[in-house]
């Protein structure tokens, strides 16, 4: 196979396939998503989306126990969800090799925090490899399966957005012939009750010693000896920045980020006048290296503690100024992302804003409902939190006058962890309104399948879960399905739920497909001469709508309008009209 450009995610998938991995389990999350999507395209593999990362890792542990090589992929916050099985899988170990990708998002391009997954490796005693580019991503992943079996423990691959989403040249190899391991019942290894877990803990401690010894010779760590004044310890994408920023520095490139090699790092430190640890938005590596007895020097100037690094920022930390450059003018307006034209979520947020509800939000495209002009979201913490937090609001505000409390959650997120939250509310006879925005897909991460749309990763036959039936079966009496493009219906449903059923728990399923699913365009709308510049339509935050800075008159961009007609329902003057269907022909756009 010739050299080709591959993203880090594609390379991890390729490495897994080459290693004879046949089972892939994941929940989508940026920047990890394309890894499993790419793995799913290889011949002879089974890949699926699970409801969440905990489930994925548990399916993975099961498949490994049964003798297959397994890949599980997730974003950094997914590791939080998967932490429960992860910590104990580091006791049981594996049968078939088990590799878990944790893709971190320093700089928070598409995440709610920038936690460092290294801490999970150290805390759970799971060895972790840090590729710096796609070529290493393939090689490390391919090796990780064999290492997982050799040391009898899952291996983690830690990537960041700049490894996962950077394409670099890769020379792909051939698939090995992997013979799945036989399954043998072994309760002492797989049943982690105290009587068996205590001896497994001893096994784990011996394994840690073995890994520490192997770390000293690990081929994934590398010393690039240059000058003897400055030595840098770094890994992952940061390594690429360091070699550009400090061409004269000697570098200890960490490929195995847990456990670290004590002797090798001390020897490296002794070979340079001053040793620095450069890492992104974290203190993991600095503290780990210091704990090995290495004297870590302070930077001459400051290295940012948050966000992504770049060669320039590393140079600044060593007192090297940025070259002369122009400054961006102060008056450049921000360009935040927005709900698409025709997005079925828009009117739900518009109506929630009208009734001044306290809205507990969740993770997905619809988190954009928090931004002006809709600005109708009060909280967003993590997957499923909308439902549980609204219950908390209800508890704390009970007996006091308060605005209606409404949870807003997507279909996939509801399946991920909203369901267990809702059961808690039902069980404790809680009140409030839960809006499930069922747009028939997992939209934010690129329109993946989920249990409620019945689409699977490899287009295998599936079973579409009945959302209304499921919620009703919990014993919730007030369950309605509403077309979210119909403003009156949305308004009425929210009114009934938050007023008439205020003391009870209500679920409203707003069901309409994501506009990116079918990209169907109806005749577009335009603003006629009756516009009175009231600005009502532009409070919807539709990217196709704008108002003139001088006259206040509204306008619709016909190239962006998809003809959903949401805005026309908010015009009190009949000034928003649809062109006749007949004029759509012949390239009217």
């Amino acid at each position: 196979m010739s050299v080709q450009l591959m993203s880090g995610n594609e390379a991890i998938a390729r490495g897994a396939w080459e290693a004879g991995c046949t089972i892939g389990v994941a929940y989508p999350g940026t920047p990890s998503t394309e890894t499993m999507e790419s793995f799913a395209t290889y011949e002879g593999v089974y890949a699926e989306w699970c409801t969440n990362e905990k489930v994925a890792v548990e399916v993975g542990v099961g498949a490994s126990a049964a003798g297959a090589r397994v890949l599980s992929t997730m974003k950094h916050v997914g590791v939080n969800v998967a932490a429960d099985p992860l910590f104990t899988a580091a006791y049981t170990g594996v049968n078939g090799g088990f590799v878990i990708l944790a893709a971190d998002d320093p700089g928070m391009y598409s995440s709610q925090n920038e936690q460092d997954s290294h801490f999970y490796a150290a805390a759970s005693h799971t060895p972790m490899l840090d590729p710096s580019d796609s070529s290493e991503a393939l090689a490390f992943t391919r090796s990780a399966f064999e290492l997982s079996e050799r040391f009898d423990v899952p291996f983690m691959i830690r990537s960041t957005v700049r490894v996962s989403h950077t394409k670099t040249p890769v020379e792909a190899g051939e698939k090995i012939n992997y013979e799945p391991k036989p399954y043998e019942k072994n309760a002492a290894k797989w049943v982690m009750m105290p009587a068996f877990a205590k001896p497994r803990r001893k096994v784990q401690l011996q394994r840690i010693r073995d890994l520490e010894e192997w770390a000293e010779e690990c081929p994934f760590n590398r010393i690039e000896k240059k000058g003897s004044e400055v030595g840098i310890v770094c890994g992952g994408a940061v390594y690429q920045h360091v070699v550009d920023a400090l061409p004269d520095a000697s570098v200890f490139k960490v490929g195995l980020s847990w456990p670290l090699p004590k002797q090798a790092l001390n020897d490296f430190a002794n070979s340079v006048d001053a040793l620095f640890v450069v890492e992104e938005g974290s203190e993991y590596l600095t503290k780990q290296v210091a704990s090995l007895g290495v004297n870590v020097s302070e930077f001459p100037a400051e290295l940012p503690r948050d966000g992504e690094l770049s060669p320039g920022l590393i140079k600044r930390a060593f007192g090297i100024d940025a070259p002369e450059h122009m400054d961006s003018p102060d008056d450049v307006p921000g360009r935040p992302p927005a709900l698409c034209a025709g997005c079925p979520h828009r009117l739900v947020f518009k109506e929630l804003s009208r009734i001044k509800a306290i809205v507990t939000g969740d993770i997905g495209c619809y988190t954009l409902g928090a931004l002006p002009p809709l600005a109708s979201m009060d909280t967003c913490i993590d997957m499923g939190a909308s439902v549980s937090m609204s219950h908390g609001f209800e508890l704390a505000l009970a007996g006091r006058d308060h605005a209606p409390i409404v949870a807003v959650i997507g279909d996939s997120t509801f399946g991920h962890s909203g369901l267990s939250s809702l059961i808690t509310t039902v069980y404790n006879k809680g009140a409030g309104t839960v809006c499930i925005l069922d747009n028939r897909t997992t939209a934010m991460t690129g329109r993946q399948g989920n249990p409620f749309n019945g689409v699977t990763l490899q287009n295998r036959e599936s079973r579409e879960l009945d959302l209304v039936g499921l919620v009703s079966a919990l014993g919730i009496q007030n369950v309605t399905v509403v077309n979210p493009h119909d403003a009156k219906a949305v308004r009425n449903a929210l009114k009934v739920a938050t007023k008439e059923q205020a003391d009870d728990l209500s679920v409203i399923v707003f069901k309409a497909p994501c506009v990116l699913l079918h990209r169907e365009r109806k005749p577009y709308f335009f603003v006629n001469g009756d516009c009175r510049s009231c600005g009502q339509c532009t409070t919807l935050g539709c990217p196709a709508l704008s108002k003139d800075a001088d006259t206040g008159l509204a306008a619709i961009d016909s190239a962006m309008c998809i003809g959903c007609g949401q805005c026309a329902q908010y015009c009190g003057f009949g000034a928003i009209e649809q062109i006749p269907a007949s004029s759509m022909n012949g390239g009217a756009r």
Binding site: V3, L5, T30, P31, Y109, S110, D133, V161, R162, H165, T166, K167, T168, P169, A237, Q240, H241, V243, D244, A245, P247, E308, S310, P311, G312, A322, P323, E324, H325, M326, D327, S328, P329, D331, V332, P333, G334, R335, P336, P337, A338, L339, C340, C365, L368, P372, P373, M444, T445, G446, G535, T538, T539, G541, P543, L545, S546, K547, A549, G552
Partner: protein, 193 residues
Amino acid sequence: MSAAKTVLLCGVGGQGTILAADLLARAALAAGFEVKVSEIHGMAQRGGAVTTVVRYGESVGTMVADLGETDCIVSFETTEALRNIGFLKSGGYLLVADETIKPLPVACGRASMPANARQKLEDAGAVLIPAHDLAVEAGNAKCENVAILGALESQLGFGADLWQEVIAGRVPQKTIEANCKAFDLGLAFANQG
């Protein structure tokens, strides 16, 4: 920074910066260079500001662009060019599609467009390219990004033949002719300028 060249492509989600970056990377690879292409997915796709960085050379370290160290900025939109102008190195090439898209805060009256944007870009030495017109002239308005790459080639010197092959190998069959023509028009525009 190493001797590798840095091209920063920026624009608005949906404008085709990722395809342009992909074509550029393939061309650099075909020209015998090592290449890195760094994209940002996710939230940025919903009409937000997007940037993609392509770096190529004998050997390439970092995949990101830095203030004052970027050889070429290729902006698909004027406001985004101003936003990213700090990355341009002294004497660098600033290529900007002569097109302006209002961000949502401006469209709904909560913010204003930057004052004298075109003038500021011209003062910064920008080459403003009528990419849309060139694409229409080539026969397909969607070839705008390839017209821009044509103009960029004036700074790269990969050779028009190499580009034609890369374009033909990547774009849909029925748009090859229009794309190749758009590339030629873009290159001719830059060479006249």
